[in-house]
Symmetry: C2
Subunit: 682 residues, 2 copies
């Protein structure tokens, strides 16, 4: 697998010599000999500029991405300045979006419906331009457009497709209320059917029911998909029957003069921590009347006579189907978050290679990435960015299959997978952005170097489209359902099938020989790594099920769940890590270029072993890993960080973010300091 | 110690009943019985409104703090708005500072010199108003003022005291260069003595030597303390002799018309991640001439004849003495960072008590602070805020003693202690601010609720006045020196004396009975907790010394240090945690009010046990803690979080931040939602 050819270019020869000299200076411990041999092979491989790896990562939509990057490159007036006030930023984001669609020829709504993977690639690229723009695009096409197209029927598609597609109809997604975000079933806005006029009457019954954080509402929106409790009059009673949460198209501003519609009250949610290019507003409805046809009626309809009709038998099934159509937003956030992580890691790693500080007595200063502490901050992050990349690709692929087949098993799988990956990746990236800033010291604090806006804009990825803590609980709940199924002999959805085997492994005794094995070959064997991850998940699942059963007798199911909540969240994270690792292992195997495969394997090993080391307490407590093995894992993690440092510059190059999109002077491919000095006017 | 009187007010009786009902609902495990009894006592204690605890925390400078708060309350035009651009913010910060000194009667320079503890209390209060203002104040008085007063001699104090004190002379601290931050000895700006004219000539020899990030330079500064390599001509050679880094007073703008001085080039470092009220600039010097008297000559002087004179024998001793005077900045940042943590924790905890989401079937929703996951996010943070408070108080006290006595042992102690606490506390607070935002969901993302600006402004606390990673290495270096001393029989400075005993404990075998003891009484015994912390430090220190000795043969001292760097950083953190815990244990003991003491003990136990649990892998790997004990610690941490949740509102009240200073609508003491709704214009 590591065969190399000897047609070295002179530049790569020099690079090899430098690398060799570097390795000598820092004199490796014996256990790193094997890895060192890999590294020298990388340095002389054909894929010297990492285009092979770059192409392997870029996937099918590279051209689409480059088209977007070029569009903004050629339109400097559409680029977001480093400092920009809220109001100006909102106008700019709208101009950017309109230009992209009307001049750039990008049609996100079509992609969303016809080729979701292309939509997500476009959204990620647009987020690289400005995260506000990415979210503005998501609000218009995925949230507003997505609800009309997916929760509505032909009459809605016919009436709204063109206007949404070309942004003549800018719209909002009005679900969240002041008092209810995560608990969507608790929202209180009402839509009461008036049979006489064949209309729904939308009302905000109290302060807490004010729609809040509604993107596009403060300034640009003309419509909103309003989520409200459907109220139907009952023939036998004066009290309306609550049919549960449904979605309605409500015009909020006039199409022509943009004045606010009668009965609608709009306020500006104001300045935010980030994403100030998106105009979030608050909405109240005072007897706002909309035609009966404005109910998005795919999963439930109200007939002219006021009767309710649905193919789905219960309120909760209809609610699940309605929310189920929103899963695309999570896929987009997971995918987009990986893009943010790549951008930040590129800047931090390039600067850490450039920046020199201190050194051995009477010798030149060394790059700060030569410090073990800096490697520990940034190399596992680089490995994670690669790991997440392959998982997000997998998620997008599964989402496409789901939209194509509408297969129930795939639907369930994509729901849990998107909840888990959105939660895990965005939480990781949020922390990583702080680490990047801090690891770049003072120069990381210059706004032009971007960590501030990336962090502030990305921050809310952890909250919207499902709070991460809530989403992880959905994953845990799903795992427990799968666990129950397993013991009832039913089928497991694809992503969880590993549980069957690992559960048996868990239920047997740990093997004391394996517990003590600490050779590098064993630790770098994907079989060991995957088993360790899956063992932990299976163990946590089994004990969670036992604890829940025990506590629910006394505390009820809600109380028991809460008593085990930390345990359940750990279980969910552990499961997602298992999925991520297994997709990474697959990606290593599927990489046809031998040199690229060697580097990916290094990253995959670091991802796996660093995760195990981070949770070594659990492994030790279960005696799954003996002390000697724990220490060997720790040493190997440090050695892998050191090895990857040697090729880190190339690995971020492979993310393929051009300098004019990266923008941060300290993160450019060359001339960093002089660009930085130039930026402030010298 | 837990005697209570039965003169309950009706309101506290109701609160007790509610608390009891709450405790029943969630039905405690048996091991929490003891704690429950504490809680019910707290609820009925005389110190029901926690004024006792609040007073215990507030310390000696409560009046000074309240004076500052009131001053800004009465001057609304001086309050920082939620959204403000860079240029406007800079002007506002200057207006705030001038008003504080000239109208508010606050004289920070005097306090700094005469009563440092008062200075730090004032700086923290000012930081509560606006962190930018706190830093602007620190630049003017502690950095610019501090260098003139502490590195200069009488002639400088006579000439500059008044102007600095009343801000007629706004000034800068020009140490950092584009290429050198942490490695101050690597700076390249030169100050060459011209004997003929009795002047120093200041030069920026290359791009990398550009002074960078200089606070007050872009707009307001008239002077700068410039750190430069002193160059003296040698009688025997044409080449000037480099005498090392010295500090010089350099006028950068005219006192009258504020025009830039000839030969000085100033640029604006521009928009930053945060602290945009501070005008950071870049400076270049082209043959700028200053009189000989402008050398700050306390530790080294140049005589008229061009000869160098100093009481200190070597360049490195003079450098150490010069930098040593800057330690006050670190004390201020550690202290200020605790203030930021208290503010953020207050907002997050009050909102988590208010906010309800989900609940048992057919019952009202529960507060999100009732969720185990939310408790896990916020209760250890609350405990840490208390822990850091007492450590910061101790540090300020020691700093005062140092300034008074100039005792060498105290100087060494304060240096390591300030480096360690500044690093540890600011790193913790930076992470905590992100957790606070995320734990408050969408409403945490509204700028008015402050997590964004707190995080952005505080972020750089981790970097300036010494990068945290570099400072921790100083702590580790100091510990190794102490370790060497111990084996040579010398004295240990006060803070480290525990090492002597714990080192012996470590060198003996662990006791298998203690390893397995898992009763609550044992785990909550401060002796066990302190021993566990100190054991870990001693163990890490001993093994670090062995590893460094081993590696330095092959790699040299720099290479060996780097090979062990992660280990050394862990050692430093472990040591600081030991110090923090021991100061917390002392503070619990010293609290005279029995009820307040009970609550403090709860917090102290949580701080100690959560830290042990977070690093349980290390304890397990050394078999210091058996599996059963590890699990008991984990259970107790969850139970303590649960217990403290019951009094969390009171515990943040005790921080004593008035609503008009806290400002975040979701963090107010009452009427949070309606204030929030009102804020956006309903």
């Amino acid at each position: 697998m590591d065969e190399t050819e000897d047609n070295r270019a002179p530049s790569s020869r020099r690079r090899l010599q430098r690398l060799a000299a570097h390795l000598e200076t820092l004199s490796l411990p014996p256990e790193a000999q094997l890895i060192r041999s890999y590294c020298s092979k990388i340095a002389v491989s054909k894929s010297d500029d990492y285009t092979v790896l770059g192409e392997y990562l870029a996937g099918a939509y590279k051209l689409e991405r480059d088209k977007i990057f070029q569009f903004f490159r050629q339109n400097p007036s559409l680029q977001t300045p480093v400092e920009i006030g809220k109001d100006e930023h909102r106008q700019l984001a709208m101009r950017q979006l309109l230009a992209l669609v009307r001049k750039g020829g990008i049609r996100p709504l079509r992609y969303l419906l016809e080729e979701p993977a292309k939509y997500f690639a476009v959204a990620e690229a647009v987020g690289t331009v400005d995260i506000s723009l990415g979210i503005k695009l998501g609000v218009q096409f995925s949230l507003w457009g997505g609800t009309v197209m997916n929760l509505g029927t032909k009459r809605h598609r016919d009436a709204y497709f063109e206007g949404i597609d070309n942004i003549d109809f800018p719209g909002c997604f009005a679900m969240t209320e002041l008092h209810h975000g995560s608990n969507v079933q608790g929202i209180q806005t009402t839509a009461t059917f008036d049979r006489l006029h064949q209309e729904f009457v939308i009302n905000t019954p109290n302060e807490g029911a004010t729609k809040w954080w509604i993107g596009n509402a403060a300034v640009h929106g003309k419509f909103a998909t309003v989520f409200a409790r459907l109220k139907l009059s009952s023939p036998n009673s004066h009290i309306d029957v609550d049919m549960g949460v449904h979605a309605f198209i409500v015009p909020i501003r006039h199409l022509e003069d943009h004045s606010v519609m009668p009965g609608v009250e709009i306020r500006d949610c104001g300045y935010k921590v980030g994403l100030n290019g998106v105009d979030n507003g608050a909405l109240r409805f005072h007897g706002v009347r909309i035609p009966r046809e404005n109910l998005l009626n795919r999963f439930g309809d109200v007939l002219e006579n006021g009767e309710y009709s649905s193919d789905l038998p219960t309120v909760s099934k209809r609610f699940a189907a309605t929310l189920g159509e929103l899963v695309g937003g999570r896929v987009g956030l997971a995918h987009g978050s990986v893009g943010v992580l790549k951008t930040a890691a590129t800047i931090a790693i390039r600067y850490s290679l450039l920046r020199q500080q201190f050194g051995p007595p009477n010798q030149p200063e060394v790059s700060i990435l030569d410090y073990q502490s800096q490697q520990q901050k940034l190399m596992p992050m680089l490995a994670s960015a690669y790991a997440f990349h392959f998982s997000a690709q997998y998620l997008v692929k599964r989402y496409g299959e789901m939209k194509l087949t509408q297969d129930d098993e795939i639907i369930a799988d994509v729901h849990a997978l998107s909840a888990g990956l959105k939660s895990y990746i965005t939480s990781y990236t949020a922390k990583a952005l702080s680490i990047c800033r801090e690891s770049c010291g003072g120069h990381g604090y210059a706004a032009v170097n971007r960590f501030g806006s990336l962090r502030n804009d990305h921050d809310i990825f952890q909250t919207f489209e499902g709070d991460n803590t809530v989403l992880l609980q959905q994953v845990a709940g799903d795992l427990l359902k799968q666990y129950k199924r397993k013991f009832e002999g039913g089928a497991l959805t694809v992503t969880w099938t590993y549980l069957r085997e690992s559960m048996s492994t868990y239920l047997s005794q740990t093997n004391p020989v394996i517990t003590h094995r600490d050779g590098e070959g064993h630790l770098r064997d994907p079989t060991f790594q995957l088993e360790a991850f899956q063992y932990r998940t299976a163990k946590l699942l089994h004990t969670a099920a036992l604890r829940l059963r025990k506590h629910s007798k006394q505390l009820g199911s809600f109380g028991a769940w809460n008593r085990c909540l930390n345990h359940l969240l750990t279980l969910a994270e552990s499961h997602i890590e298992s999925v991520i690792l297994s997709k990474f292992v697959d990606a290593v195997k599927s990489c046809e270029n031998a040199e690229a495969r060697v580097v990916l394997k290094l990253l995959c090993d670091l991802y796996a072993l660093e995760r195990i080391w981070e949770d070594i307490g659990t492994y030790r407590n279960e005696d799954y890993v003996a002390t000697n093995k724990a220490k060997a894992i720790h040493r190997l993690v440090e050695n892998l960080c050191f090895e990857i440092r040697g090729v880190a510059g190339k690995l971020v190059d492979a993310f393929g973010i051009p300098d004019y999109m990266l923008r941060a002077p300290i993160g450019l491919q060359s001339g960093q300091y002089s660009e930085y000095v130039h930026y402030i006017g010298f």
